[in-house]
Symmetry: C2
Subunit: 639 residues, 2 copies
């Protein structure tokens, strides 16, 4: 991609510029679907580039071979591209050149050498944020702890121009609030913080014979009946493409999903006051969910049998850099059965059959300042794809004068939980929206609402009522804007109406929600308009190459006119078309003491599950584990 770097440099001919995104452009889907490996030449490789120069956004396509640049209109949408790592690194020093800032820090009795300021996106509320690219810095005391997040200098917000690094405004409201203590906040193993708990005999996931998967051409993962393309992406984290599963009957590889990735996040904090109201993060579009994914820790982030994949991303000058060990891939056996049955003794047949449940996990962790998001794509041998998001890391907290709840007036809202002396864990939500371009047995699919409803028998039978299945094919997008209800349930199927099974059911996959959450913000509130993808749990749109980022291409300070809600409200036809399903996974988080000083992981996810896709249980013939085929292990001498 060195040619691309040169082409960009020459395009800006000596002017200062920054590259905010440089990735391979998605080739046309039809080209990819038609392309045959080892037969057809590679489609032309193009780079998709987002850059800024002299206060303007640029969207460009660069031909990787020729360096030819095509410029696209970037003025029709509000907002800015994600903030680069280099900009963040510069912004954190901006406050220290401001005399007022230094004065207020000293007035609080804090040594400037102990202060760390972090850049946070300002959101967009239609006033001060207009026209200027801003960052709001918040500062912490690093004294006596690595976990400075637990030592906020509360109420102090340094509004800074990201382009000029000029401090524009200092909000300074919390002078009376003490900085919480450092004691007990550090989470590092080698810091004195209580005795270490260790179980004498470790239980481990072992696969001494090596993995059963291969990675061809650096990105094509083949495991058991699955194959898919795996690519780190600076914005989405990882992108799974062309996931296909073999039919156990014919051995033919069948399309399941053309592409799947985390499209956007929304993390609104629920404190409306001056220093907190703007905290309504869109982490993929504002910071880069992949850019913020760092190296994984072998043995603890991923099990011993994991293999690792590096990412190559572009720095803000357009040159590549390597993010090593960003993704891990491992086979999992967690002690569960894929299926089992014991025949009852009354039939005089002693039958006891059980098969191990084995899966392949692809994992990355994005560390967005304090928070860590673990994202797993788990491929099961029975054709199911489980997507799991685990939240861990550090809860962002608010300083308070209180050290005990008995000091708090009953009517006072702390907007959170008193976690420790002078520390409130502020209530917030996490939403992760997934782009799921399902191609079930081919690209033209339909979305079916398999509604379960009470039906009355009207005295014809001893039963008064039963649950009836009523299937409705969504004709247009609005019919597929789904708000889930426990008492008015449906299954949600993506089917191929052109591919019928032997007994006449359309091949399908269903999206199965586990626990999730819906946004409680007012639909007209600016943050909610910008992250309107949280208005529904499920959406279906016709495939459109330009509709990838559900919170908008330029999420930073966006106004909300380039979102999934806006696209979907066009109400285009989606029946028997190439369609994309969007699923929003949500978490409400009311912090509790256990989240202090670092929170135990909380997980939820969803399944993409075959439904009448296979003619029978696809793991019916999977082999059971037998003793003499399992690894031969002994305890480590040092254990």
């Amino acid at each position: 991609m060195n040619g691309v770097h040169k082409a960009i440099k020459s395009f800006f001919s000596g002017k200062v510029y920054s590259v905010h995104s440089l990735v391979l452009e998605e080739p046309d889907k039809q080209v990819v679907r038609r392309w045959r490996k080892e037969v057809d030449p590679l489609p032309p490789r193009m780079a998709s580039v987002i850059a800024r120069s002299a206060g303007k956004n640029y969207i460009m396509t660069v031909d990787v071979e020729s360096g030819e640049i095509t410029q696209h209109d970037a003025t029709h949408i509000s907002g800015f591209p994600l903030v680069t790592l280099e900009e963040m690194l510069s912004a954190i020093y901006a406050p220290f050149s401001n005399a007022d800032f230094n004065r207020t820090i000293l007035a609080r009795g804090v040594d400037l050498a102990d202060v760390a300021c972090l850049p946070f996106s300002p959101g967009w509320f239609g006033k001060a944020e207009d026209g200027r690219r801003l960052v709001k810095l918040e500062c912490f005391s690093r004294k006596d702890t690595a976990n400075f997040y637990m030592r906020p200098i509360e109420g102090l917000i340094i509004v800074t121009d990201l382009d000029t690094l000029q401090v524009l405004e200092i909000v300074d409201r919390g002078k009376h609030i003490p900085i919480p203590k450092a004691e007990g906040t550090d989470y590092r193993l080698d810091v004195e913080n209580g005795p270490i708990i260790k179980l004498p005999n470790p239980v481990s996931m072992e696969q001494p014979g090596g993995p059963n998967f291969v990675i061809e051409d650096e990105h094509l993962v083949k495991w058991a009946n699955w194959e898919f393309h795996l690519k780190p992406d600076p914005r989405a984290g990882v992108v799974i493409s062309r996931a296909r599963v073999s039919d156990p009957k014919s051995g033919v590889m069948r399309d399941v999903m053309y592409q799947g990735f985390a499209s956007e996040l929304f993390v609104p904090y629920m404190d409306p006051e001056e220093a907190w109201y703007f905290k309504t993060y869109m982490d993929a579009g504002e910071y880069g969910f992949g850019l913020q994914a760092l190296a994984l820790e072998p043995l603890n982030d991923c099990p011993r049998n994991a293999e690792y994949m590096d990412a190559v991303f572009a720095a803000s000058d357009g040159t590549p850099f390597v993010r090593s060990n960003m993704v891990c891939i491992f086979e999992r056996y967690a002690g569960d059965a894929a299926w089992r049955h014991t025949e009852i003794p009354i039939t005089e047949q002693l039958i006891r059959e059980a098969r191990p449940k084995i899966s392949l996990v692809v994992r990355m962790v994005a560390s967005l300042a304090n928070y860590d998001y673990v994202v797993d794509w788990e491929f099961h041998a029975d054709g199911l794809i489980h997507v799991k998001v685990s939240l861990t890391g550090i809860v962002i907290v608010k300083g308070t004068t209180y050290v005990n709840m008995n000091q708090v007036n009953q009517n006072e809202d702390l907007y959170g939980t008193l976690l420790s002396e002078n520390i409130v864990g502020v209530v917030h939500d996490h939403f992760v929206n997934f782009y799921l371009d399902m191609d079930v047995d081919g690209s033209d699919n339909s979305f079916v609402n398999v509604h379960l409803q009470r039906e009355y028998t009207d005295g014809k039978f001893p039963r008064k009522s039963f649950m009836k299945v009523n299937k409705t094919v969504a004709k247009t997008e609005k019919e597929a804007q789904i708000k889930m209800k426990l008492t008015d349930p449906s299954e949600y199927h993506v089917v191929n109406p052109n591919k019928m099974s032997r007994v006449g059911n359309p091949a399908g996959y269903k999206v199965v929600a586990a626990g999730t959450a819906a946004s409680l913000l007012d639909p007209d509130d600016a943050p909610q308009r910008r992250s309107a993808f949280t208005n529904n749990q499920i959406w279906v749109t016709p495939y459109n190459k330009s509709e990838r980022w559900s919170g908008g291409l330029f999420a930073y300070q966006s106004h909300g006119e380039d979102t999934l809600q806006v696209w979907s409200d066009r109400d285009r036809a989606i029946e028997n078309k190439d369609i994309v399903l969007w699923y929003t996974l949500g978490f409400h988080h009311v912090p509790c003491q256990e989240d202090y000083p670092i929170m135990p992981a909380v997980s939820s996810g969803f399944d993409l599950k075959p439904v009448n896709f296979f003619s029978r249980n696809p793991v019916l013939r999977i082999a059971p584990y037998v003793e003499n085929e399992l690894p031969v292990c002994k305890a480590a001498a040092s254990a």
Copy 2:
């Protein structure tokens, strides 16, 4: 318990009787809570016995030492005790002595030697089921397959008196429906049914140093920071008692749950027609969720590092028998992190800390004829208890004349999915209701609805809205009858209002639902009245020793007057009392081809999660895995 057996025999003095339940009677809770091991003598051991003789139900308490019997009133509630294994074994032969039965089987061209009939509970619909103890038998062809469930002799129901084994009525509606083919239905490994799929390098859970748990006094499990009493139970499956967790700060064992178990199941099928309407099973009360739990299959039901526990149950003559390997216990590491954080590079600190997530799983599998329910109680080192139910085994199917959906009229309701030629998988639900006697830091607790609601800022701040937490303590039972709503969410806490943390929060545990389902039957429909525990996802009652079985003590043919709904509607005080929380886990099941001929496991569950119970993250100081402490493994020579 031999003395008990003799006492019962002598009580019935020569009359024919059957023992339907014989378990140790729960000692008074206050006695148990006060009892100190190695100091106090054991409380008097009493047996709780349910028996039948001459068409009457008996409830008795038998003193294990003296054999003295106290008889309790058994006439005030409808229904019958669970059907014994011996009765089931007898009932299956009843049809064969009936000439009409033999005639209709032969008329269908089926060899009587190939026929297996299974006994199903008849439900209660207020007519034919009154006054008589009934069973409805349904028959299958066993020819050429072990999976006879896939070969129903459709529409044939043999209504039989369970007490006399007399055939009362033969419903014979399905003569025109062929018996589905045997081909492809067998699930056994050693039966020719397609090639076996085997990944060359097994991934295994290994713990060569042996477990980190001990089992004292045969039932007291101690692992990491947890201890609890584990007991197989013929009705509930397993009962967890006195679950306590140590405080990482003080080392003191703190109460979490006095007792937890699966109290009742409800599995209504959604076909209202003659041969199907009554299929509304209450598996714990009708069959015994523990009685139907058979031996587990090592390496495949449970991982290699599992240990096993036997059950001792009473046969219908009152004598004990051993159910070996009914429960397995193992430590799990599934490759996930308990918590992790990477510090962002902009702070110039390279910090990457992750800790393995380790848990202890207690598992049993109940095989209720066709279906297998895997129930896991999983204790996590961070204080969380995860209860998981996995559904697998065989979907019960209905014979049909159809071989392809193109033969089915658009308006015709099959009440299910055509799974294969002549086979419909009938739509149904599964509900499992859990009894959770929470004793959070002592027995007197309150139930708090931590409601999350939209709040408007009324122009005071740039944000229009935010999510506010509003806590309400439930004063009486009706305030704790909870129907969950995604768009009107709450957290549900059980707190000890008398035990405040250092910063003044009450010690608590919350119940966290994952995916669940609500019953769609009419509340006045007889099956729904009997299993009215499905009317809400959560209930809270004051502790009452007699209120253990949410579908009634005598669930079989019960009328629904002895249920959780009835108890809860008394609306007793529950604030700062010894309370019991009931959680109903639900699944809607619309079968699909992948469920044929045996279904891949589908799981869901719920968490009991500490909330302000610990003063900080209780696994903060858990050790990471390091290479030289993990097992030393090599691949098996035969792999």
